[in-house]
């Protein structure tokens, strides 16, 4: 037996209204596949907002500390150089000259750290196989996924009749 039942729609508004109708009948939706981000869908499906931004902040903050620590070690402790009379006795005095690199390094690590976290969390990495149920969900169709194990109390026929009531273009199992 296949694991999930899908309803395919050709319009985002029809799909969102369909999702609301399905949830109103106490059928749980596992996921929704769409060719572009649909605003407000997370509220309908009750998906929590991502915490990626917090990650970016943490990567950036670490990089900031690392850049300042690194430069004060290189330029002030390990090998102090008198360059054009610029003060190099302590970090505070030398700080203005360190700001550009501190900034760049913070952005570098925050951006790349966040991008890598994003790719891993989505499991979108080179060589990974696509898991969208229908090839047209990356073109102009929208799919609602109903997992059988999540809806043990509801029969297949019931699920299908609920889905049929939401005007899909196609219902299929996979």
């Amino acid at each position: 037996m296949t694991k999930a039942i899908y309803a395919l729609y050709d319009d985002d508004e029809v799909m969102v209204n369909g999702a609301k109708a399905i949830l109103a009948k106490n059928v749980r939706i596992k996921d929704v596949y769409s060719p572009f981000p649909i605003h407000g869908l997370e509220n309908v499906l009750g998906i929590k907002w991502t915490r990626l931004a917090i990650n970016a902040f943490l990567y950036g903050f670490t990089a900031l500390a690392l850049a300042l620590a690194g430069m004060s070690f290189f330029m002030i402790q390990d090998w102090p150089m008198n360059i054009g009379g610029k003060p190099n006795f302590d970090l505070y005095q030398n700080l203005p000259a360190f700001i550009p690199i501190t900034f760049e390094f913070t952005v570098l690590c925050a951006a790349h750290g966040m991008a890598i976290t994003y790719l891993i969390r989505n499991w979108t990495l080179p060589g990974v196989k696509a898991r969208n149920p229908h090839p047209r969900t990356t073109d102009d169709h929208f799919a609602i996924e109903i997992d059988r194990t999540e809806n043990a109390g509801v029969s297949d026929d019931e699920i299908k009749s609920i889905l049929q009531g939401t005007n899909p273009v196609e219902i299929f199992e996979k």
């Binding site: 996921d31 929704v32 769409s34 060719p35 572009f36 981000p37 649909i38 869908l41 997370e42 998906i47 907002w49 991502t50 990626l52 931004a53 970016a56 950036g60 690194g70 430069m71 290189f74 330029m75 390990d78 090998w79 150089m81 360059i83 054009g84 610029k86 190099n88 030398n94 360190f98 550009p100 690199i101 900034f103 760049e104 390094f105 952005v107 570098l108 925050a110 951006a111 790349h112 966040m114 991008a115 994003y118 790719l119 969390r121 989505n122 499991w123 979108t124 990495l125 080179p126 060589g127 990974v128 196989k129 696509a130 898991r131 969208n132 090839p135 969900t137 990356t138 073109d139 102009d140």
Partner: protein, 459 residues
């Protein structure tokens, strides 16, 4: 459903559906290239090969093969470097700054503008590399402990700031661009018929699925990367300008440099986007997406940044007199009236006077005048960097040192060669990559599409 004011011009013309957008954008990738593409590609490859030859010649013989002399020891190479970095500013500005300002018109142009940014920054990074003379030592710019003891690179030097700025800018722009490309590669992957292209786009799309949570993360990543890239856009050219501004050469030692360079960079970047997109929209039949309104918006940015650049030129001139520093005063008098007056005049004409024509609505909405004016800006901005660099150096404090700069065929060859390499990359991009951000365009179709706007306002 978000609705837009009726008087706001639609951003997607014609009777488009989601599927039609996919068809239109995938057509160049899935179809065969026409003869114009092959002609342009052949010319670009020949010019690029000539450039590569000149670069190899430089590496083999040393930078003595350039026209540099003891007085003018920075010339075309640094001019080209700053010119290319400047051009590279529009892409991230369009995708990051305009994203934060929720400008929907950016969606039709951001992909190509970012591609242009990445290729332009690659060309820029080439010049400091080959200028080192011994390019195999280029890794010395990074703070690596070496075999000579704990000698570190100089973190007080703007040249090192530049290394960090350019590498951060390049890699962050690349990541930003690629993250936007992943869902669009997935679209091509799911449509591909031939096994080779199916496999290639499967790898490129990283197995993108497009489920709800992935899109939430996608939006968050785009927003935060835009927030990080925005100060980056402004910092990169500020730091490039500090290569000059922190020196004590009259004509370079100016506090106005950072904002003036940033405005100039955006100005030249938009001009290059305009040049490329005016051709691309025609060749790739994307007139419904890159509309006259998009062209007009970009021209408005050009006229505003051009005016900022003009004010900067005049302030610089005024301050050189007002400062009372005779060397500073001479440097600017010499620019305008000395042996390089023609470079200064070209710069003033192309950057300050000609873009002012964009105040006329007819001129900024005409494709032909937009194209011609964008070429003028590209040329003018090259001259600006040439004027700043060469005219400040060629007459220094000792009149016995005074000289002129004469480019050799190698200087010219490398410069033209980078234009060739740039076009090779851009032409390849336009054949194999989705040139418009498919997923973003689809998300604005119902609010800004022509057919939907008409439908809403007839309700």
């Amino acid at each position: 459903m978000q609705k837009e004011s009726a008087i706001r011009e639609p951003l997607i013309l014609g009777d488009k559906t989601y599927h039609q957008i996919t068809e239109d954008v995938c057509a160049p990738v899935e179809g065969k290239a026409n003869k114009y593409w092959y002609m342009a590609f052949s010319v670009a490859v020949i010019v690029a090969l000539w450039g590569v030859g000149c670069i190899l010649y430089t590496i083999g013989r040393g930078i003595g093969v350039w026209g540099l002399n003891t007085t003018v020891d920075w010339a075309w190479d640094i001019t080209n470097f700053v010119w290319w970095v400047g051009i590279g500013h529009a892409g991230t500005l369009i995708s990051a700054v305009l994203l934060l300002f929720r400008q929907k018109w950016r969606m039709a142009i951001n992909r190509s503008a970012e591609a242009m940014t990445i290729f332009a920054v690659m060309m820029a990074a080439l010049f400091p590399g080959i200028h080192m003379g011994r390019i195999w030592m280029a890794y010395w710019v990074f703070p690596l402990p070496n075999q000579f003891g704990s000698l570190w690179v100089n973190f007080n030097s703007p040249l090192l700031w530049d290394v960090f700025a350019i590498s951060t800018y390049f890699s962050v722009s690349l990541v930003f661009w690629y993250i936007g490309l992943i869902p669009d590669f997935a679209t091509i992957r799911d449509r591909a018929v031939k096994p080779v292209s199916k496999m290639a786009y499967s790898v490129l799309s990283f197995g993108w699925t497009g489920n709800a949570k992935a899109w939430i993360r996608f939006e968050e990543v785009s927003l935060v990367l835009a927030g990080l890239a925005t100060p980056l856009v402004f910092s990169v050219h500020s730091i490039v300008s500090m290569d000059f501004a922190t020196s004590v050469i009259p004509g370079w030692h100016t506090t106005i440099f950072p904002p003036y360079f940033v405005a100039g960079a955006i100005f030249s970047g938009f001009a290059m986007v305009q040049t490329l997109l005016l051709i691309a929209r025609k060749v790739l039949s994307l007139e419904s997406y890159i509309t006259v309104k998009h062209i007009e918006y970009m021209n408005i940015v050009i006229v505003i940044t051009g005016s900022i650049v003009g004010v900067a030129y005049l302030s610089e001139l005024f301050i050189s007199w007002y400062s009372g520093v005779e060397y500073e005063g001479y440097a600017f008098m010499n620019r305008a009236t000395g042996p390089y007056w023609w470079a200064y005049a070209s710069m003033m004409t192309c950057n300050v006077i000609i873009p002012q024509l964009f105040w006329f609505k007819g001129i900024r909405r005409s494709l032909i005048t937009s194209f011609i004016l964008s070429i003028f800006v590209n040329v003018g901005m090259w001259f600006e960097r040439f004027v700043i660099i060469v005219t400040s150096l060629h007459r220094d404090f000792l009149p016995s040192n005074w000289g002129m700069f004469h480019p050799t065929f190698v200087d010219v060859g490398i410069f033209l060669g980078t234009i060739g390499i740039f076009f090779v990359l851009f032409l390849l991009y336009s054949r194999f990559f989705p040139v418009l951000a498919l997923n973003e365009l689809k998300s604005i179709l119902k609010s800004s599409g022509d057919n939907y706007k008409k439908l809403h306002h007839n309700d």
